[in-house]
């Protein structure tokens, strides 16, 4: 089409052409999305058929304009009303009996991390913000890494707290992740801030609250000038982040490889600190054992304990997972029932 004059007949022919396109285009409409396409074709603001044809009005002889305009409006409103009624039809009725859209979708199996992994990763994320990296070590260890370097006195009742599975004399399944403290201190120079997740073993019979293997998470910070205040503050900060704002309580405890030693409690998650059966009316829940690294551990790894100080903790993410998800029996974590594991899809 040139910019020349348009005759009334040409204009009316174009309108008829548009009107005749409608039925065949409607045949392609099965869903709302198809209707949208047709709507744009006819009534689009940029290049819809009516938008283009109405541009011709200005090129008609002056006398023909009223008739042409009236005809344009008639055809346009006819198309609009057909599209509107089609739209209503689509909204209220299924397109056909075969496509009952209330039927269920076709899913894939969901994968999931183990709940203990989920807890580990969440704790790891908080400590990463505090400058920690991840360290790993072997599960089979020598006595020196598991006990000797960690200041366990030989033939002492402290050993009773670690009922040990042995492979050979001097070779054992580690009873805690603390050997990774020693390995890391031997392999690196402070500042050291590590988290060491891993499996540990105890000669405990498998029951509702004990397992002969469980996951532990160790933390260690060693540098010049680290104090008991840093220790308390960092762990209290962690508890705040992990549990939501919470009070913490540090009480005296004993581990051969930390001194001063402590247990950290948070307000009972069940009663909020008021006292209940879960917390034996104390209002507190034990979360981790911790303390300042014993100077003899720093010396055992070949560093000067006068120069370097530090703190460490060990906690059981399995126990935390049980608390958080309300899992009543530790064995459920090991059973690996797919119906249990599926619940932790993220």
């Amino acid at each position: 089409m040139t910019d020349s004059v348009v005759s009334l007949q040409e204009f009316l022919d174009e309108l008829r052409l548009i009107e005749n396109e409608l039925p065949s285009m409607l045949e392609t409409v099965h869903e709302t999305i198809d209707l949208d396409r047709v709507h744009v074709h006819f009534l689009g603001r940029q290049s819809g058929r009516f938008r283009l044809v109405s541009a011709w009005l200005g090129r008609l002889p002056q006398a023909d304009k009223p008739r042409a305009g009236a005809e344009l409006n008639r055809v346009k409103s006819a198309v609009e009303s057909v599209l509107a009624s089609k739209s209503g039809e689509l909204a209220t009725a299924p397109a056909s009996a075969r496509d009952d859209l209330t039927l269920p979708a076709r899913h894939r199996w969901l994968g999931a991390k183990h709940p203990v992994t989920i807890v580990l990763e969440e704790i790891e994320a908080i400590f990463r913000e505090l400058g920690f990296t991840v360290a790993l070590g072997p599960e089979v260890e020598r006595e020196w890494y598991n006990f000797g370097a960690l200041n366990f006195p030989p033939n002492h009742p402290a050993m009773d707290l670690h009922d040990t599975l042995y492979l050979e004399d001097d070779v054992l399944l580690r009873t805690h992740t603390s050997p990774v403290q020693v390995r890391t201190l031997q392999a690196h120079t402070p500042p050291i801030r590590i988290l060491a997740p891993g499996n540990v073993y105890r000669r405990d019979f498998f029951d509702a609250s004990h397992a002969p293997m469980f996951t532990q998470l160790e933390g260690l910070a060693v540098d010049e000038g680290i104090t008991f205040v840093d220790f308390k503050a960092t762990l209290a900060h962690f508890a705040d982040r992990f549990f939501g704002r919470t009070k913490t309580r540090f009480r005296p405890s004993y581990f051969p490889f930390t001194e001063p030693s402590a247990e950290m409690d948070v307000e009972c998650r069940n009663c909020g600190g008021a006292g209940c059966v879960v917390c034996k009316s104390t209002g507190w829940m034990e979360i981790m054992g911790c303390g300042m690294v014993h100077p003899s551990v720093i010396e055992a790894a070949g560093h000067d304990s006068e120069r370097y100080t530090g703190w460490a903790f060990g906690m059981g993410p399995g126990r935390v997972a049980m608390l958080r998800y309300g899992i009543p029996d530790i064995r459920i974590l090991y059973d690996s029932d797919v119906r249990f594991l599926e619940q932790f899809a993220e």
């Binding site: 042995y166 680290i226 309580r249 540090f250 004993y254 014993h294």
Partner: protein, 809 residues
């Protein structure tokens, strides 16, 4: 350690309730695990206020009262006690309450007047014999308050978790010392009876001596660094008085007779276990502290005959072992009702020796528990005097001469230097020398004159755990209270040790498998195993878990069976875990593997299909390839295997994993199971450096994942051709592909199998495989005759090398 609240309170006049005392001890000394009221039978009794008291209309001794028991209404109660007065408070048992005697109260009429409960006398509550009237309470407690909160009725047991470093807390004196220090109250050692007998000063000897006609010889000073004895003659063995048996019951001990009970009592008071021998039963009469002889046996107090090892210390008479040192006495010389003359033993046995004997005999007692942890060697003389006095006070008799004290090598006091500046460097808060002295003195430490910079601290003999400066700093922190240190997060330096490479590898693999719809397990590595090829646990928990797994699939298979047993047929599990293989040396070869097991439906059921397709070998192969991809291993190949092994995963000539059919103990309806196992990383369990040394900055040889390399997207069109070939059944498709790639040249972008077909039109011994070849030149558009030329070349080469021809359509 069970402690009696009343006993502690008799030593220190603290105002704390049992729950408050629990919190105080937990904060300052040792965690109190439990608080057990021993008169739980009085828990339903409340404080009742008599508002009105009038004479009963039909009785000359009964009263009709109105009682406020906190219920919001006044109760009519008939009371027969002469001392009932309006305005006074008494213990009140309402309707439905069961009294200690077993009587449950009901609403009833007494001489025509309703009575809704009972005001109680001391005897009715089993609080004494007083029954002349009801128990008037001198209390501010509101009506309805539990009686036990308003009246010191019954004792409360505190169950204290005493850790191995604090044997001094295994006694009421030790716990009371901590309470006195924390409350700044004085401490005494009150007893309910007066001690009047005088005990002569003991005679100290190095190896042998005599007391009361009994000779005592110490042959094993290593097993028994100190042995004290005293003879008491003419005792009358009888039951103990109530105050003593009450206290023993409160700590969970059983009353036997006054002699045994006194030794138990003083043990719970002081922490020192003791033993009493019947002098009449001792051959000699003599006691010899020596090692057990080869083949020697003893019948212990529990009636069991026990064979002794020659490294066990015994207390023998002139002929036989009469007690296992620090563990248990023998039945021959046991104190009986007929005993009149006894020898009281107060000894210090070597902790490690007692521990060895206890483990060897499998016999743990209150005594062995304490001796293993250390009993204050300097306290023996005091304990001997007090126990002898208490025996004479309760059982009569007289002390026969000077006690003997065999103490060849007396303990020297321990002095530990403490730098005031070091306290601040470790605790982060300055503590003045004066405050340090005050805190430590309160629990028995002593100070030589010091300059305020370095202190010289003398450790009390009962604190075997305090050896170095750090132990004193812990004492300062503990006694000051951990809660007194601020929780300010102060500046810190970030760690400089890099992430373990294996950690990121595990994360990548886990993410990939979770995205593939698999479920992570974290199971134990114990398997049934066999001596050959498996690492054995020397002291396993169960015979069928005596070995460590070589493959993670081994444990995943058991987990799959667990699911099948619970009718879960669609199993898709994975685990990232350690495996262990014998190495020929004591340390096994430890590796971390990733394994997956899939069986059953590939996706959940849906109405659009009859049943979803089941996992098959191709799914398993895909998982293996995806794992290798997640690990960024490009140079591994899956080589067809034999039997249940479908593919071996090989890399640089090394076996790094496999894909297999997994045989399960499975019901008939179970689908076939497929397993994938791939080695993620070797674990280095060798020492990093010798003890006491460090060896920094050896770069880790552990695997790291290669970085992703970006490839520019194509700007030129590709050309595709399909070729359908007749491939002999025994010619692997991979070999054909290799030939196609070689002949196609560098412009071949991809090569994909689109069809495999047997049947009509395909001769026997052959199959038809169709490949789609995609060519692209990144710089220009390929011309159709170039493609045709390559096609010809490929077909010619295939015919020449493998005698493979195109399938004629």
């Amino acid at each position: 350690m069970n402690a009696s609240y009343a006993w502690l309170k008799s030593f220190v006049p603290f105002p704390h309730s049992p729950a408050e005392l629990r919190d105080l001890l937990t904060a300052r000394a040792a965690t109190v695990d439990d608080v057990v009221p021993l008169r739980a039978d009085l828990e339903t009794i409340v404080v009742g206020l008599v508002v009105e008291a009038a004479a009963h209309p039909d009785s000359d001794h009964l009263h009709v009262t109105k009682v406020d028991a906190g219920t919001g209404e006044l109760l009519d109660v008939v009371c027969g006690a002469p001392n009932v007065r309006a305005g006074s408070k008494y213990p009140f048992a309402g309707v439905g309450t069961t009294l200690p005697g077993g009587l449950t109260l009901e609403r009833r009429k007494i001489r025509g007047q309703w009575s809704n409960g009972m005001l109680c006398s001391a005897r009715e509550l089993q609080l004494g014999d007083e029954h002349d009237g009801i128990l008037e309470l001198d209390t501010d407690a509101a009506p309805g308050t539990p009686f036990l909160h308003a009246y010191p009725a019954g004792d409360t047991r505190l169950v204290i978790d005493v850790l191995p470093n604090r044997p001094d807390l295994l006694s009421h004196v030790g716990v009371a010392r901590e309470i006195a220090a924390a409350t700044r109250l004085p401490m005494s050692r009150e007893l309910p009876v007066a001690l009047t007998a005088s005990v002569p000063a003991a005679v100290r000897v190095a190896a042998r001596g005599t007391t009361g006609g009994v000779s005592v010889r110490l042959d094993d000073a290593a097993g028994c660094p100190r042995y004290m004895g005293v003879v008491i003659r003419g005792v009358r063995v009888a039951p103990s008085p109530a105050w003593l048996t009450d206290r023993l019951v409160a700590v969970g001990s059983r009353a036997i007779n006054n002699i045994v009970d006194v030794t138990n009592y003083v043990m719970h008071e002081s922490g020192q276990p003791m033993h009493a021998f019947d002098v009449a039963k001792l051959a000699g009469p003599a006691l010899v502290i020596r090692r057990a002889r080869d083949g020697e046996t003893i019948v212990t107090l529990d009636g069991v005959s026990r064979a002794l090892r020659t490294d066990t210390t015994v207390i023998a008479d002139a002929e036989h072992a009469q007690a296992i040192a620090g563990v248990m006495g023998g039945s021959t010389s046991e104190v009986s009702d007929a005993t009149t003359d006894l020898l009281l033993e107060v000894a210090h046995f070597d902790p490690a020796s007692v521990r060895r004997a206890r483990v060897a005999l499998g016999l743990a007692t209150d005594a062995s528990y304490r001796f293993e942890r250390y009993v204050d060697i300097e306290n023996a003389a005091h304990v001997l005097e007090r126990t002898a006095q208490l025996i004479v006070a309760l059982a009569g008799g007289r002390i026969d001469g000077e006690p003997v004290d065999v103490y060849p090598d007396p303990r020297a006091p321990r002095h530990v230097p403490l730098r005031v500046a070091r306290v601040e460097r470790l605790l982060g808060v300055a503590v003045a020398a004066r405050d340090i002295k005050e805190l430590l003195t309160a629990v028995g430490f002593a100070f030589a004159a010091g300059d305020g910079v370095a202190l010289e601290v003398t450790v009390p003999a009962w604190r075997s755990d305090v050896i170095g400066e750090i132990d004193l700093i812990e004492e300062v922190a503990r006694l000051r209270g951990y809660e007194s240190f601020p929780d300010d997060l102060r500046p810190f330096r970030v760690g400089t040790s890099p992430d373990a490479p294996r950690a990121s590898l595990e994360r990548a693999v886990r993410t990939r498998l979770v995205a593939a719809g698999l479920l992570e397990t974290r199971s134990m590595p114990f398997v049934a195993g066999a001596d050959e090829g498996f690492v054995r646990v020397a002291n396993p928990l169960a015979a069928n878990e005596g070995y460590l797994r070589r493959e993670v699939l081994d444990t995943l298979a058991r987990r799959a069976e667990y699911n099948l047993a619970r009718m879960q047929r669609n199993v898709r599990l994975f685990e990232i875990g350690a495996t262990f293989a014998p190495s020929g040396s004591a340390m096994p070869v430890e590796e971390v593997h990733v394994a997956a097991l899939v069986m059953g439906a590939r996706r959940p059921p849906h109405f659009t299909e009859q049943s979803p397709p089941a996992f098959d070998a191709w799914d398993a192969k895909a998982l293996a390839e995806e794992l290798l991809d997640a690990m960024r291993i490009a140079d591994a190949s899956l080589v067809p295997g034999d039997g249940d092994v479908l593919w071996n995963v090989r890399r640089a000539g090394e076996h790094i994993g496999g894909v297999s059919r997994v045989t399960l103990d499975a019901p008939v309806w179970a689908a076939p199971a497929f397993g994938i196992e791939i080695r993620l990383a070797a674990v280095d369990s060798s020492p990093v450096a010798p003890a006491g040394a460090h060896a920094p900055a050896a770069t880790s040889a552990a695997p790291t994942r290669a970085a992703i390399a970006y490839r520019a997207l194509p700007t030129t069109p590709s050309s595709e051709i399909d070729v359908a070939l007749l491939v002999p059944s025994n010619l692997p498709a991979a070999m054909v592909e290799e030939t196609i790639r070689a002949a196609a040249g560098g412009l071949l972008e991809s090569l994909v199998v689109v069809d495999e077909y047997h049947g009509d039109g395909v001769p026997a011994g052959f199959r038809s495989i169709a490949w789609r070849l995609t060519f692209r030149d990144p710089a220009r558009t390929l011309q159709s005759k170039e493609i045709a030329g390559r096609r010809e070349k490929i077909l010619r080469t295939l015919e020449k090398e493998h005698n493979v021809r195109q399938r004629s359509s």
